[in-house]
């Protein structure tokens, strides 16, 4: 159910300093999110595609993610062109398809996918553990980092716990359908999951105290900013400036 399948790999992008990747992905995402002109958005999409290409990820997996995340975009395409005020482009039965609506939908589609692909290339190419220590070097409040890392650590445990509960339910003949009994069973199952989590939290915390936990986690990750990072810093800066030029300068 839960995997970080994009984090394994040995491409240039995988080897970049995660601190750098987090910062550059954030800047890039905001630049694209705030762009509105088509030349800039199309360029961003192509650039993001190139980034994913350089990561040498499993193409099928990336395609699956893109398809999944575009559900909301498809919903927008179904509704926005029909409901948007503006010049009708053509008529679909009684409904006018507005050209403004089509433009807005197209803009959102380009932006959304450009940001998504860059996220896959720059963020999903690191594990949560690495990202956690990178974020802590970037002065994100420590409590958030602890919450993130411990949450991440126990998601897999809780998932296993859930599977066990579900297995024992199905051994007892539980077949989910849409009726009240199913909802009640799921609710009790979830309740049991919370109770187990609560019990486990108590044990874990005591074990941490026994081992001298004094409110600090120590990370053994050492990050270094290499020459490869420097090259990529230049590449990304040029890309971002390029997008801004396309956004703000009207090319005749």
């Amino acid at each position: 159910m839960l995997q970080e399948q994009f984090s394994t790999g040995n491409s240039q992008i995988h080897r970049l300093d995660p601190r750098f990747k987090v910062v550059v992905a954030t800047v890039y995402a905001f630049v694209v999110a705030l762009s509105n002109r088509f030349p800039a958005l199309i360029a961003a999409l192509i650039f993001s595609f190139a980034l994913v290409g350089l990561c040498r990820l499993d193409f099928l997996e990336v395609a699956k993610r893109i398809a999944l995340v575009n559900g909301f975009i498809i919903f927008l395409w179904l509704v926005v062109p029909l409901t948007f005020a503006g010049q009708p482009l053509f008529y679909l039965g009684p409904f006018g398809v507005s050209s403004e609506g089509v433009l807005v939908s197209a803009r959102i589609t380009l932006k959304s996918n450009a940001i998504l692909l860059a996220f896959i290339a720059l963020i999903a190419s690191s594990t949560v553990a690495t990202l956690g220590s990178a974020l802590s070097r970037l002065r994100i409040p420590e409590k958030i980092i602890y919450l993130l890392l411990l949450n991440y650590r126990y998601i897999f445990v809780m998932e296993e716990e859930y599977r066990r509960l579900l297995r024992s339910a199905s051994i007892r003949g539980f077949r989910p359908t849409s009726n009240l009994h199913t909802y009640k069973t799921y609710a009790y199952l979830i309740g049991m999951l919370f109770v187990r989590a609560s019990d486990r939290a108590e044990r874990v915390y005591k074990a941490m105290l026994c081992r001298g936990f004094a409110g600090r986690f120590y990370s053994l990750h050492e990050f270094s900013f290499s020459r490869l990072d420097l090259i990529w810093l230049v590449v990304m800066t040029i890309a971002i400036i390029g997008l801004e030029i396309l956004e703000w300068v009207k090319i005749a």
Partner: protein, 214 residues
């Protein structure tokens, strides 16, 4: 219940970030280092529970559970939901960096409201607690959907109909969440009442007495 990247306008994104940061700051202040392991492990269980698909007619919906997160964690819901959304983005690429603030608000604000509106009621006797839990579950989704709608309308006035549809789509989810929250609270009242607020023990965030004494 989240908005994808690239949909919202700059001002909406920025307001989301500012408000979510404020909520998270309050949440973190109420959450001291000793309670972080507890909050983290509970939130891991919330995360897993939110991946469960519940059948409804020919389709299925996944749970959001922000109502129950709210009544068990109070303001702690802000940092916990922020972290859960971050993990969701890393694992599944749902949501993302620019929308993190808005999406946190969409789920965490209803959660905190649920804490204040229903927190007391769920620890009363069953005839009050169970209906309150149902309303809590349904309200958290409804209010969240309204927030999604507002974020869309503030981005672009012409998104009015889209927003309306978003709220309508969430109506069946509201009912399912209500039912699940009601049964879940009934279960917790029997099995571990101290996870709910207002009970005499109230361990959900209080320090572990034995641990502190050691």
């Amino acid at each position: 219940m989240h908005i994808s990247e690239g949909v919202l306008s700059g001002p909406v994104l920025i307001s989301g970030i500012v408000l979510a940061a404020a909520g998270t700051a309050i949440g973190l202040k109420k959450l001291d280092y000793d309670h972080i392991p507890r909050a983290a492990i509970l939130s891991a269980s919330f995360f897993v529970a939110s991946l469960i698909h519940i059948p409804i007619g020919p389709s299925s919906v996944h749970l959001i559970l922000n109502g129950i997160v709210g009544i068990t964690l109070g303001w702690g819901a802000f940092p916990v939901i922020l972290v859960a959304l971050t993990l969701q983005a890393i694992f599944f690429q749902f949501g993302g960096i620019t929308t993190l603030g808005v999406n946190t608000m969409i789920m965490a604000l209803p959660a905190v409201l649920c804490y204040y509106l229903f927190g007391r009621m769920v620890s009363k006797k069953a005839s009050i607690a169970i209906p309150a839990a149902f309303v809590c579950g349904a309200f958290s989704i409804f209010f969240g959907a309204i927030m999604v709608g507002l974020a869309l309308i503030f981005t672009e006035e012409n998104f009015l109909k889209v927003s309306y549809l978003v709220v309508m789509v969430h109506l069946p989810i509201m009912i399912i969440e209500g039912i699940i929250t009601a049964f879940c609270v009934a279960f917790l009242k029997k099995v571990q009442p101290d996870m709910l607020p207002g009970s005499s023990e109230q361990i959900s965030f209080a320090p572990q007495k034995e641990a502190a004494g050691d």
